[in-house]
Amino acid sequence: MNEERRRGSQDASISDIEEENETEDTEHIPMNDCELGLPPPIIVTDNGGVCSKLDDAVPNNNHPVARRRPRPNHLHINITNCTSSDLSSHESLPSHKVAAMTPISLSPSWAKPHRLIRARKASLCSTPGYVTFRNPTNRISSSTYAEELIHAIENDESLMADSPASEQMRLQTVRGMAEAMELRRNVKEKICYNIGMRSQNSPSDPTKWFKYRLKKSFRKVNCGTRELLGHFELWGSTIKSIEGRFGTGVATYFRFLRSLFLINLCVFIMSFSFLVFPQLLDRFYHWNNTTISANSSVLVLEPKTYPYEEINSTFYIVDLVTGGGWLADTELFYGKYNSHSVHINEGEYYSIPDAYFFTTAACYLFTVIVLSIKVAKSYRKNFIEMQGGFTNVYAQRIFCGWDFGITNSEAAELRKQTLYNELRELLDEENNAERSGAKTLMQRLTLMACRVGVTILVGSLLIGSGVLVWFLLARQKMLVNEDVGTLEGRQQASMVMSLVVTGVMLILPMIFSRLCAIEQYSNPRNSVFITLLRTFGLEVAIVGVLLAYWQKSSKEVQVHSFNVLLVMWFNLNVPQCWETSLGQETYRLILVDFFIALIGTSFAEFIRSIVYQYVWKGIGAPEFDIARNTLNLIYNQTLFWVGFYYSPLLSAVIVVKLFITFYVKQACVLHNCKPPSRSWRAAQIQTVFLALTFLAIIGVLFTLGYTMTRVPASKGCGPFREIEHAYLIIKHKLNNIDKNSNWYTIGEWMFKPGVVAGYIIALCVGVYYMRAVAHARGAMVELLRNMLVLEAEDKIFLQKNIREAKSGRKYRNMCNAGRHYRF
């Protein structure tokens, strides 16, 4: 069928060839070596212009691609890999013939689409994509070659301009040259010297010069800070050593952990400095206006002399785990925060409710922005720029299979083993697919049934765990209500739920990965993705149920708020505060997860590796399960985001927890685990992790938004006890703005319905435009790609014909017969 395609598309060119061959009957080899295979002549410019000797040898390049291609308007670097000696190997081919043949020959236009794409890409990334190639042979001496390079660069105005941008480009060019260091240094020195000469000859604008200098020094400072920052890169060397021994897959987990840690650290710093610290100050100190002399007074912090607000429970160690008792009455939770402003000086206030609202909002916003940037970057890098599709499976195994970061012999051995296994698997798969055409129907059916069954099972497990959590919550509430008096009963009840939830989160993922084995996914990657999704589903189910339940109970509390008030006044000293109890719940979950999922499993792994090392080899060394561990991180992070609004100091807890997690996991990996036997597509899995995290925070934010606007805040506690809903604080702020100020008018105008509709329409148009452009580009790429394939086919075809023509009577006979020759 290739024949037909070829015939259809290239009839015109073929007949050209025929005529030529008929008349001249020479031995034509339309392509010389360098046209065919050697690296593209020399330079790809950033504006899509490509230049080479070969291009210039094509006066009438009527190829569509060639026509579309912008002619290079600068940068003519004519060092090609074709020298006359190359051409001389085909002496029978007069040079003008090359020109005549080129339109249908493969080389220049063959390389063009590709170069075009690359040049486009380079211009998109806004870094000039200058590339040169090391002189392939030693036909030219290196000094001549350097001269040529210098000459080539000097001919390019954009490179030689006396501006920072072109200096940057010069540097890029010098760095990007695949040449020996000495040669590059030579080139660089020469160019710098020449530039110096030029700028002396033509003294440029002093302000421009000053700007240039400024930019240069700025860049130097920038470089310095980057260097300094690199020095302080958190856990850099640790991650490196893990990467060396266990490959990039495991390192991905640690990188993810590190980025979460850093985000949470920022959140902690923000929330502590703007919210917790002022609140603590207000609790223990007050501002006093001390008069120093007659006309000056200083604000001094003084400890409050009167007893602090009574803390009505004594501290027990167990409170640290349950988050109840003494701990419930601290700044850890929502309930303790003031609903009034801290009075500092005449007319100066620090409003705690404002601080509470805006600090938490800023923290969430910060997290969302950082995460979305990370997701977008990672997605672009690993999916879009790779243009999807992994058709080159074998080539990728061979060319990208080796992880150059590996420094450990065990890991190296393992990587070799993995590659071997993967290649074997691929080959087997191939051979099997060929063999198993007919047998599959029955087997496929059973397999499908099996998969559907497992999926249903998993689904019911998910629902079951959701129901279990709901049931436990209801029971816990009942117990709390019953055992109002006994502290122990309350504590036990509150602990049971977190224990069970953590247990479920620990055990079900293990079951899921076992179940996946039954499903016999042909590709290990698929099974990992499936397990990932299921575990994420579990997390969503559990956290969702928790949130839904709390929402429901908080509403109940409000409905019966009068009862609650009565209970509050007469039975309990602690005001009923659903926000605090929600905070406590997440606090407990996070803590219990710490003890069980982190310390517990690590200890179990430790025991197992001891057994493996000294007692019984059959048990096998534990393996680091990246999917499970990462999802545990995501689960934790989701809990934290849920709880953060109700417990600002939870950020401290999570930071400490992640810090400890890093070291525990590191020790665990380095000492107990063996490297994963399954090779991971680390680059893509990272994006998946980030995307799941992003989904989690979006979900949490929606729920929080709903809570803030729909569920009334507790009347007896917290910063918002005086208003109905937390979000009303914005409304109050807006109401306080001076209605006559310009800013107000502008703001009011900006939020008019019509204007807002305008934004939305503009946004839609923008998105539509971008999409259209992306589609058009995709179509263009596809077109070019097809052209490439077609031309490649032409080449083979023509080569075959020429070979035949060279040796063959067949061709001549055919021609002599006067028939139109069909190929």
Binding site: L38, V131, V174, K240, I398, A792, I796
Partner: protein, 189 residues
């Protein structure tokens, strides 16, 4: 460290900074690593032409932990050494690490990767090159039939012009679509 003995002159450092993707500190670190390989021959002070004349032999280069386990180490050193023997001068070494560093752009990495995989140096990656790479990668565990089958597959799926071997452009095309290449073709020092 630079207070007492100057390793490089300012000018040299500037040159190296401009010609590689390294910062000053990294260049000095590379020098330290280089010197550790052969403290007797590599001087601490390299302000003269020591940087491109003094060579460390291949067998010493191979002891670097970053390369010890790399199946392609011999090939890498011979590609980057200026004389092609695998004996490296400091500048060769610096260039090698610069190309393999995180900051190096994909183009240059792809170019050198091509060089490395092109064992016979004919500017094409042919079946023989692939076979050699496979043998190194899997410690010769695949049998002859499997190896040749794998090589055929590689050529089949990546060879666009149908000449039975991969040219640089075809190789680049493969690499451009491999998300892992940048993370794996990378050595931290």
């Amino acid at each position: 460290m630079g207070n007492k003995v100057v390793t490089f002159s300012e000018e040299q450092i500037d040159d190296y900074q401009d010609c590689t993707y390294f910062t000053r500190k990294e260049i000095l670190r590379v020098h330290k690593r280089f010197r550790e390989l052969s403290p007797s021959t590599v001087p601490k002070c390299m302000t003269g032409d020591e940087a491109h004349t003094i060579k460390v032999p291949l067998n010493l280069m191979e002891t670097l932990p970053e390369f010890r386990e790399n199946p392609f180490r011999k090939r890498i050193f011979s590609v980057f050494s200026s004389d092609g023997t695998g004996n490296m001068t400091f500048e060769d070494f610096l260039e090698l690490l610069s190309v393999l560093s995180e900051q190096a752009p994909r183009d240059i990495k792809v170019f050198y990767a091509f060089k490395i995989y092109d064992f016979d140096g004919d500017e094409h990656i042919g079946p023989a090159d692939l076979q050699q790479a496979l043998t190194l990668l899997t410690s010769n565990e695949l049998n002859a039939e499997e190896t040749s089958q794998a090589c055929t597959k590689v050529v089949e799926e990546s060879d666009i012009d149908g000449d039975g071997k991969l040219s640089f452009i075809e190789f680049e095309h493969v690499i451009l679509r491999a998300p892992d290449f940048l993370t794996t073709f990378h050595i931290r020092i």
